[in-house]
Amino acid sequence: MTSVLELDAVTVGYGRLTAVRDASLAIRQGEVVALIGPNGAGKTTLVSAIAGLLRPISGTIRFRGRDITGMPAYRVLELGLGLIPQGRQLFPDLSVADNLLLGGYSRRARPGRDSMLQKMLDRFPRLRERLRQRAGQLSGGEQQMLTIARTLMARPEVLILDEPSLGLAPKIVEEVAEIIQEISQDGTSVLLVEQNVPMALDLASRAYVIEAGEIVDRGSRDELLQRESITAAYLGITDDPGGAP
């Protein structure tokens, strides 16, 4: 089976600091793949490079066979690769409605934008109640829903979520997990970046482990759950995801 997203020896850095070295990974059509690793491992750096926010130093990134290495983010999205960034990067001073409408900005999102908007509001009824409110006034969970809904407006074929559970209450985390499952069932391929390893391994069929900028392990869910290094390092600390203040 061919991969929709394929990274070959990608190295990314900030100035002269190399944050991710020689990372290779692949996601097949319809799969949910997890990328797990501790704080500062380079997860955000890697997905930012995939989405076009950072330019890799070397290596290639292919999306549906097309080389997208170094392509700017707004063009990557048009091709059908969406990233939901870490930390709910909303436009806090804009209304919920404006945030959603901006999700429909791309050329890709334009046909059928209004029906998509209705679909999102049906799926996230809390957002419908708060359409006129400033996005910055929403609760953490609502903000996460809004970021997800906003990106879905462009109907991405591959969706990357960067720590969607970060800082959310367990009940909301469950809701997020459910949404990811639905997205996947609609045929979207998903790359899920998480520190919440139980959640990640629950949703994903395969996972990559990244530590200190390098992909150190990979395998199916079951393989990884057998490994003592994983259970000890990640499942032991899962009640403290991200170490929020």
């Binding site: 901006l102 900005y105 462009a154």
Partner: protein, 288 residues
């Protein structure tokens, strides 16, 4: 304190307010999108006024056409300036400032060479004065206040309701998040710069029948516009509108009681106080 002079002061305040808001809007939009401060902004305004002088007083085009030509010229000027000069300085406050300082000097001196260093006046567009009881206001001033307010309203509407305007506000708040939704921040930044420049040249043409035209007229206004942008909150459009109106009225009414220099010192004290007590300005957002 008598009412007539107060109303008279209010009327000159409204005139100043229209001018200030038009000019400050461009500055604040450019800052919000590109994180630059264009010191030559007031000189773009000056160019609009100089162009109006030639087109209206010498070529004798109808005034509305003069204003449109100035605005279109601003679009072209803004596009060229952004592409050739400012493009490399996005997010580089110091660099952009120094560059635009040089540009401001070049523009001023070039105009001195062609136009001469001394102020010139334009004939009135709508001759005569209108009387409201004891208060007399020249028709030109009324025209500027009305047209200026309409343009400000149109811009506000555009920025809040159109998809491009929404994208501008998105880029201003979070550039990366905007890019992830398919918005090209560089393109949106160019639009903002072009819009800001066109507003400045348009303002220059619009007020040229009232204030005399000279090559130095831009610098003072650049400073005023900075003040408004600070007080309104760097990058905030409603803030700039509100602060522009306040400053205009303050100067219009205050001008009855104290002289300009005292007014300026007072304004400075207000800014300092403002920055200490409310560093984000009246409408400043979380990210400025």
């Amino acid at each position: 304190m008598d009412l007539t002079s107060l109303v008279q002061g209010g009327a000159s305040g409204a005139l100043l307010a229209s001018l200030y808001v038009l000019v400050a809007l461009g500055l604040t939009i450019e800052f919000s999108l590109l994180r630059i401060i264009n010191f030559a902004h007031g000189d773009f305004y000056m160019l609009g006024a100089v162009a109006a002088y030639y087109l209206f007083a010498e070529v004798a085009l109808p005034f509305p056409l003069v204003v449109v030509v100035a605005a279109v010229g601003g679009v072209i000027l803004g596009f060229l300036a952004e592409r050739t000069l400012f493009r490399r300085f996005h997010e580089d406050l110091l660099g952009a400032f120094v560059l635009s300082l040089g540009l401001a000097w070049v523009l001023e001196m070039a105009v001195v060479g062609k136009f001469g260093a001394y102020p010139k006046g334009l004939p009135p567009v709508v001759a005569g004065v209108s009387r409201f009881g004891q208060v007399a206001i020249s028709n030109d001033r009324i025209m500027v206040i009305v047209v200026g307010s309409l343009i400000v309203a149109a811009i506000s509407l555009y920025v809040t309701k159109s998809q491009v305007g929404r994208a501008m506000r998105a880029v201003a708040q979070n550039k990366d998040a905007a890019a992830l939704l398919g918005i090209n921040p560089v393109f949106v930044g160019t639009i903002g710069f072009v819009l800001g420049t066109a507003l400045a040249t348009l303002a220059g043409a619009l007020v040229s029948p009232i204030f005399s035209v000279d090559p130095q007229m831009g610098v003072g206004l650049t400073i005023k516009a900075f003040v408004i942008v600070i007080i309104g909150g760097m990058g905030s459009i409603p803030g700039a509108v509100l602060a522009g109106i306040l400053l205009g009225l303050f100067e219009g009414v205050g001008g009855i009681y104290v002289d300009n220099a005292q007014l300026a010192v007072l304004e400075f004290l207000v800014i300092i106080l403002f920055l200490i007590l409310r560093p984000k300005g009246i409408m400043g957002s979380a990210e400025a």
